[in-house]
């Protein structure tokens, strides 16, 4: 029982931290530039493909991860300079349309280059098995992901809360006009934030690649969760993104693990087997609705 609980808690933490990598970039772009980027999930997908391709070419997962993330960052830079710069001043509808088009283009491009079948990306051999601590087993690779997530979250905290650039970013998120008036080069700041956000989601894509399938369309499902996270956390807030990610990660994991068993104790078996998974999958949306009811701006609104 302890093993089960501990394992599920770690699972929730791991899932939450990966969501955080995605949500951090999304919430900054949304919060600071007021730009809805539906293609954030596509950058995650492209990142995973680049990591897989580089890892295969270099025959090393870690080199692949570095090269893939760098490649995605370059792509993010080009996108920001060519497309997103034109979108910031437009209304949300144009942004949604343009970035939705990007999703379609990215999916087709990936299919043309890598084919329709999922691409293989395996973790380094040393991490392929489980870690054993006494009776307790946990996949080594998931532990590494947790470590990466904690590290990035820590660095991000230092960057945003303690550095000058972080101060500009926070200032930009809470009042853009005033920040510009104070002489900050907002244009360059936007580019930097966008590229950084792209690198983070490519890192998530690369790290999750060995756990999930690197395939066309992998970005869309995770994008919805990332949006749920930033809405719960408060748009534009890194702290909100972290808390929101951990909440969504644990609620989703625990819901999937406990609800079916719980319902089986209360209901007939066939009703429980239908209701349990259905309820588990809507749990995070119920949670989001509940939080928005009491805190319409999210838990940590950036413009409070």
């Amino acid at each position: 029982m302890l093993q089960l609980f501990l394992e599920q808690a770690l699972n929730g933490l791991q899932f939450g931290l990966m969501l955080f990598l995605l949500a951090a970039g999304l919430t900054l772009v949304f919060g600071i530039m007021d730009c809805i980027n539906l293609a954030h999930g596509s950058l995650y997908m492209v990142g995973a493909y680049l990591v897989a391709a580089a890892a295969q070419a270099a025959d090393s997962f870690w080199i692949g991860l570095g090269v893939g993330v760098a490649g995605a960052a370059v792509l993010g830079l080009l996108l920001e300079l060519s497309l997103f710069r034109q979108l910031y001043k437009r209304d949300h509808l144009s942004q949604v349309l343009a970035t939705f088009a990007l999703i379609l283009i990215a999916n087709e491009a990936v299919r043309v280059i890598w084919g329709a079948q999922p691409v293989m990306l395996n973790p380094p051999d040393a991490l392929a098995g489980p870690v054993e601590i006494g009776d307790f087993f946990y996949p080594a690779y998931r532990l590494v992901i947790i470590a990466f997530g904690l590290l990035v979250a820590g660095l991000l905290y230092l960057l945003v809360a303690k550095s000058r650039v972080g101060m500009w970013v926070r200032a930009g998120a809470s009042n853009r006009e005033m920040t510009e008036a104070l002489g900050i080069n907002v244009r360059a700041l936007f580019t930097a934030v966008f590229v950084f956000g792209t690198a983070l989601c490519a890192l998530a894509g690369g790290l999750l690649g060995p756990l999930l399938a690197v395939q066309v369309g992998m970005g869309e499902s995770v994008l919805i969760l990332a949006f749920v996270v930033i809405i719960i956390g408060g748009i534009g807030s890194i702290r909100g993104a972290l808390v929101g990610s951990l909440i969504v990660g644990s609620v989703d994991t625990l819901g999937r693990a406990l609800l079916p068993t719980l319902l089986r104790a209360l209901l007939p078996a066939d009703a429980a087997s239908t209701l349990g998974p259905a309820l588990a999958s809507i749990l995070i949306y119920l949670l989001m609705a509940g939080i928005l009811f009491f805190k319409p701006q999210g838990l940590f609104p950036a413009r409070a």
Binding site: M1, Q3, L4, E7, Q8, N11, Q14, F15, N107, R111, A116, Q117, P118, V119, M120, N122, P123, A128, G129, P130, E132, F137, Y138, P139, A140, Y141, R142, P210, L211, L212, A213, Q215, V216, G217, M218, S221, T253, L254, R256, A257, P260, T261, S273, T274, G276, P277, A278, A280, S281
Partner: protein, 388 residues
């Protein structure tokens, strides 16, 4: 003028049934984009390879294959099929991967008196009460591969089994098929969301149950993730994995790699089957597409060969539906899976084999045929089919 035209048209239509057509048209609607695309692409490539082997002809007549992508959506599939039936006037249809799409498209095809040769989807409805003279399945009935796994798990003496499938009709069919032949204890039936990719929560639950065997039916990307995560969680030490061939074919192996070694699965076909047709198919498929064929590819190949044999049998007179139906029922072609015959519900009566994933002579991870599970196995629904 209009009277003469009508007469001419009527004459032509009469002629259609009496004389050989000068061209055969096939409509192939399949899932060629989205997460399920790997399956449809293999069916299409298998079909196209057969057309190449037949020099672009079906039954000796020049043939045209129209291909459309259904994007795994019943609505889009129905539109594409409507166009092929009404505007292009195809003689055969094939290609649909998923049963829910098949059930949406079927009625239009049958109303139009066009023969549908299913290269994958084998819904129980069309095997039982709703069986139709215009529907043939050249692959299997949906439950069959699951039944075969159930039999193996039962025969090998496993006593404590966990089942994992997505929470949708196909998943429920898999469970009922498996339980039709496995009579031991099912410790837990885990239903996941369709399209779920992270199984950490389910794997923790499985670990706490400690089953001796695990049966999963997770098509496409879902299966890839599940197996990878199952192995990295260390569960493969105490629990033997079983799956239908769909979750353990070349598309999945290519993505998962060595983690799948030792896994058992069931299939009606395997790439190492020893017959001349199969050897040619497997060798040329690799030459053409640079990968090993999957069971889906073999089914696409057989669908084309089946059309070829039937058109040849009626000497190109595809307008004579009754004769064409007889020719299709008689199975005038050599399948890459070896011999089989059609049951009264137009589903195959055939052998099912046990495969295990191992390394071949070149060190490549792939399926190996281990033995026969069922000989001349029919589906469970044929009794309720009253074929007209």
């Amino acid at each position: 003028m209009s009277l003469r035209l009508t007469t001419l048209a009527a004459a032509l239509m009469l002629a259609g049934s009496a004389y050989a057509a000068d061209q055969i048209k096939v409509g192939l609607v399949s899932t060629l984009s989205g997460p399920g695309a790997g399956l449809g692409v293999d069916i299409r490539d298998g079909f196209n390879l057969a057309m190449k082997h037949l020099n672009g002809k079906l039954g000796g007549l020049p043939a045209e294959v129209l291909i459309a992508d259904d994007q795994q959506s019943p609505d889009i599939a129905k539109q594409a099929a409507d166009k092929m039936l009404k505007k292009d006037k195809v003689d055969f249809m094939t290609g649909i991967v998923f049963s829910n799409i098949m059930l949406a498209v079927g009625p239009t095809v049958f109303e139009n008196k066009t023969f549908y040769i299913s290269a994958n989807a084998g819904p129980s409805q069309y095997a039982g009460e709703q069986c139709n003279p215009f529907f043939f399945n050249v692959a299997w009935q949906n439950d069959n591969l699951h039944e075969a796994v159930g039999k193996v798990v039962q025969d090998k003496g496993y006593k404590n089994v966990v089942i994992v499938t997505p929470n949708y009709p196909g998943g429920k069919d898999a469970v009922s098929g498996f339980k039709r032949y496995y009579k031991g204890k099912v410790a837990e039936e885990v239903y996941t969301k369709l399209g779920q990719l992270d199984y950490a929560a389910e794997l923790a639950q499985i670990r706490s149950i400690k089953p001796d065997a695990l049966f999963f039916f997770l098509p496409g990307g879902m299966g890839i993730n599940f197996v990878k995560q199952f192995v990295s969680a260390g569960l493969s030490r105490d629990t033997q994995l079983f799956a239908p061939g769909f979750s353990a074919d070349e598309d999945v192996i290519k993505a998962v790699g060595g983690s799948m070694l030792g896994m058992f699965n069931s299939s009606h076909w395997a790439h190492d089957m020893d017959n001349a047709e199969n050897k040619r198919f497997v060798a040329d498929f690799q030459k053409e597409y640079n990968r090993l064929p999957s069971l889906y590819a073999s089914q696409g190949y057989d669908a084309a060969m089946m059309m070829d044999g039937a058109v040849r049998d009626v000497k190109g007179k595809v307008g004579d539906k009754a004769a064409l139906q007889k020719a299709l029922e008689a199975k005038r072609f050599k399948s890459v899976r070896g011999d089989f015959k059609f049951n009264t519900n137009h589903y195959p009566v055939q052998n099912y084999y046990l495969r295990a994933i191992g390394k071949d002579a070149n060190g490549r991870v792939t399926n190996k045929t281990m033995g026969t599970i069922f000989t001349n196995h029919a589906d469970a629904y044929v009794a309720s089919c009253k074929m007209k």
